[in-house]
C-alpha cells in the first residue's frame, strides 16, 4: 500500500517556549496538497518541521512514510524546496547557482550543469541565465528559486508562497508550470500560499491551519466531483418556517446575521422552488448569488467554525 503524502500524528512544535503547532493530527493522501491559513497560523512552521528544521516537542510528522525528525536526511534527499523569503547567492550567475544546488543534492557535475540549463529554460529564464542572481527582478528571483527546487528532480516539491511578488502573467505561467509538473510526473506537491486561487488551481487537497491547529482538511477533488450548488441569499423577513420549508425540500441551510442565508441545493431542487417558498412565506429576497462551492467558501467556513469570522489571510 502506498504511504500517505503527509501524515501528522499529534504533532506539537514549540519555539522559544511558545507552542506554535498544537497536536496536529491528520492524513493527507493526495499528490498535490495546499496549505492555507492566516498569518501566524503555523504554515511555515509546519513546512520547516517537515523539512526537519524544527524538532517536534511531541508527536511526529511523516512525508511519504519518512519521519521528519528521525529520517531527516533521507527525507530531504527527496525534497525540492522553494522558500518564501529571498534565498540566493547574489554574485553567482543564475545557471551556476542552480547547478551548485543540484550538485549539493548529489548530481554529478555534468548532469548538474545540464539540468541547471534545462531548468532555467523550462521556467522561462533562459535568456537571463548568465546574469548574476542579485540583478534579477523579484519575479525572476522567484523563478530562479523554483528552478533550483526542481533541477535535481525531487519526489516532493515544497513551495512556500511561490507566486509572491510576481505580476499576473508571470504568476499564471508559474501556476501552469506547477500544474504541468504535477501532471507530467509522479511528484508530490506541498504548496503554501496566501492566494486561494493558486491553491485551487494546483492542488487536490487542502490543509487549513488556524492558530496552530487544523481548521479543516478538505479534498478538493471530491468537492469538485460533488459539484454542489449554492445559493447565497440576502433576505428580509425570513423566519424559522422559511428555513424549515427549504430543509423540507432537501436543502442544507446556514443562517448568518443580517438575513443572510447560505443554501446548499440538491440536484432535484430548482431555484424557482426557492422563489415559490419565499413567496408563500412572504420573504423578500433582496439579493441572490448562485454558484458552486469554491475554496474561498471552504476557507471562510473553516475560519468561522474555529471562531475567526474575519477571514483575513
Amino acid at each position: 500500500m502506498m504511504n500517505p503524502t503527509i501524515e501528522l500524528n499529534e504533532l506539537e512544535v514549540q519555539l522559544g517556549g511558545r507552542t506554535i503547532l498544537h497536536g496536529l493530527t491528520g492524513v493527507l493522501k493526495s499528490r498535490a496538497i495546499g496549505l492555507l491559513g492566516p498569518n501566524g497560523a503555523g504554515k511555515s512552521t509546519l513546512i520547516n518541521t517537515l523539512l526537519g528544521f524544527h524538532s517536534p516537542s511531541k508527536g511526529s510528522a511523516r512525508v511519504l512514510g519518512l519521519d521528519s525528525h528521525t529520517d531527516g536526511k533521507a527525507l530531504r534527499s527527496l525534497v525540492g524546496y522553494m522558500p518564501e523569503n529571498d534565498a540566493f547567492i547574489s554574485k553567482m550567475s543564475g545557471v551556476r547557482f542552480v547547478r551548485y544546488m543540484a550538485e549539493i543534492s548529489g548530481l554529478p557535475r555534468a548532469q548538474a550543469m545540464e539540468r541547471a540549463h534545462e531548468a532555467f529554460v523550462y521556467v522561462g529564464l533562459g535568456e537571463a541565465r548568465y546574469r548574476p542572481v542579485g540583478t534579477y527582478s523579484l519575479g525572476m528571483k522567484q523563478l530562479a528559486k523554483f528552478a533550483q527546487a526542481i533541477a535535481h528532480g525531487p519526489k516532493v516539491l515544497i513551495l512556500d508562497e511561490p507566486t509572491n511578488g510576481m505580476d499576473p502573467p508571470a504568476r499564471k505561467r508559474l501556476v501552469e508550470l506547477i500544474r504541468e509538473i504535477r501532471e507530467a510526473s509522479d511528484i508530490c506537491l506541498l504548496l503554501s500560499s496566501h492566494l486561494l486561487r493558486d491553491v485551487e488551481e494546483t492542488c487536490d487537497e487542502v490543509l487549513i491551519l488556524r492558530n496552530g491547529q487544523i481548521a479543516s482538511i478538505c479534498n478538493l477533488v471530491e468537492e469538485r466531483r460533488a459539484n454542489r450548488k449554492f445559493l447565497e441569499l440576502e433576505t428580509i423577513g425570513a423566519e424559522a418556517t422559511f428555513i424549515a420549508t427549504l430543509e423540507g425540500l432537501g436543502c442544507e441551510c446556514a443562517v448568518f446575521t443580517g438575513g443572510r442565508i447560505k443554501v446548499v441545493m440538491p440536484d432535484s431542487v430548482e431555484i424557482r422552488e426557492v422563489f415559490k417558498v419565499a413567496a408563500d412565506k412572504r420573504v423578500q429576497i433582496r439579493r441572490m448569488n448562485h454558484r458552486r462551492d469554491s475554496l474561498e467558501d471552504i476557507f471562510l467556513s473553516a475560519m468561522e467554525q474555529t471562531g475567526a469570522a474575519d477571514g483575513r489571510i
Binding site: 528544521f53 536526511k73 522558500p83 548529489g106 548532469q111
Partner: protein, 294 residues
C-alpha cells in the same frame, strides 16, 4: 526536462557519494576566490618567502655557490632547528593575513541573501556545510604553512645528505601539529566571524580586533596585577609558545624565555577553547529556519 520538449522529467541518473558532497562547497569557493586578482597576488606573496628560504638552503649546501658569492663563514649558513622555526613563524603569519582576506566572505555570502535554507533543505547537514567551508581554509592555509615547510625540509634533507634527515626527522611532527592547531583556530574563528558579520571589511577588522585587543588587555592586566597570566589572551603569543616548545628551542632567534612562563598545556587550552567557542557561535548562527511570525 529536455530543452526541446520543454517539459519536466524527474532525474533518474546516478548520484555522488553523500560523504563527498561537502567538497562541492570547497570547489565552488575556490573557483570564486581565484577570480579575484587580489587574492592571487596575496597567495603568491605568501609563498615568496618560501623561495628565499629554498634559495638559502641551496646556498648553505652548495660550496661552489658560497665561493662564488665570496662568503667564508660557514656558520652563517647553518640549516638547523631554529631555521625551520623561523620558516614556521614567517609562514604562519602569512597564513594569518591570507585567512583575514579569505575567511570573512565564506559564510557571509550565503547568509546575506538567506541561501542557507537551500543548503540545509537538501541531504546536507550543518556539519557538512561547516566542513566544506573549513576545507577551503584548511587547504589554502596548508599550502602556505606545513606543505612548503615540509618541502623545504625535504630539500634540505636531499641536499645535505650524509644522514642529516635522521637526527632531524622529529621536526616533521611539530611542523604538522603546530600548523594544524593554528590553521584550525584561524579557520574556525574566521568562519564564526563570517557567520556573525556580513560585511567583509568589518569582518576582517573584527578578526584583527580579536587578535590584538585582548592581547593589549592582557598586557594591561599583567602590568596592574603584577602577573603574567594575562598573556593567555594573546593568541599569537600562545601559538608561538607552542611552536617554540614543539621545536625544543628555549633560546636562540626568538630570545631567551623567562622563568615566569605560561605552561604549554595552558597555551594549548587557550587555542582549543577558541576553537570550541567558534564552533558554538557557528552552531548558533547557522540556522535553516526562517522567522516564525505571529
Amino acid at each position: 526536462m529536455a530543452v526541446y520538449k520543454r517539459r519536466y522529467n524527474s532525474y533518474t541518473g546516478s548520484l555522488t557519494a553523500p560523504w563527498s558532497r561537502f567538497f562541492v562547497l570547497t570547489r565552488y569557493a575556490f573557483a570564486d576566490l581565484f577570480k579575484s586578482r587580489f587574492f592571487v597576488i596575496l597567495l603568491i606573496l605568501s609563498l615568496v618567502p618560501t623561495l628565499f628560504f629554498a634559495g638559502y638552503i641551496f646556498i648553505a649546501n652548495n660550496k661552489t655557490a658560497q665561493l662564488l658569492m665570496q662568503l667564508r663563514s660557514v656558520s652563517l649558513f647553518s640549516v638547523e632547528t631554529p631555521y625551520f622555526l623561523v620558516i614556521m613563524i614567517a609562514q604562519t603569519q602569512a597564513a594569518f593575513l591570507l585567512n583575514c582576506w579569505v575567511g570573512p566572505v565564506l559564510i557571509a555570502g550565503d547568509l546575506t541573501n538567506g541561501a542557507l535554507p537551500l543548503f540545509l533543505s537538501r541531504p546536507f547537514s550543518k556539519a557538512d556545510y561547516v566542513l566544506g567551508k573549513l576545507a577551503v581554509l584548511g587547504l589554502l592555509l596548508s599550502a602556505v604553512t606545513w606543505i612548503p615547510c615540509l618541502l623545504l625540509f625535504s630539500l634540505q634533507a636531499g641536499l645535505a645528505r650524509n644522514g642529516w634527515i635522521w637526527p632531524h626527522l622529529w621536526m616533521i611532527i611539530p611542523i604538522v601539529l603546530c600548523s594544524a592547531i593554528w590553521i584550525l583556530m584561524l579557520s574556525l574563528l574566521s568562519l564564526a566571524v563570517s557567520a556573525w558579520v556580513k560585511l567583509r571589511i568589518v569582518a576582517t577588522g573584527v578578526i584583527f580586533i580579536i587578535f590584538f585587543v585582548p592581547a593589549g588587555i592582557g598586557e594591561m592586566f599583567n602590568a596592574i596585577m603584577g602577573t603574567y597570566w594575562g598573556r593567555l589572551l594573546n593568541f599569537s603569543d600562545m601559538f608561538r609558545l607552542i611552536l617554540i616548545n614543539g621545536f625544543r628551542e628555549p633560546t636562540g632567534l626568538l630570545g631567551p624565555i623567562g622563568q615566569k612562563q605560561i605552561p604549554v598545556p595552558a597555551a594549548w587550552g587557550v587555542l582549543i577553547f577558541v576553537c570550541l567557542l567558534s564552533l558554538v557561535i557557528l552552531k548558533a548562527r547557522l540556522r535553516a529556519r526562517e522567522t516564525v511570525r505571529g
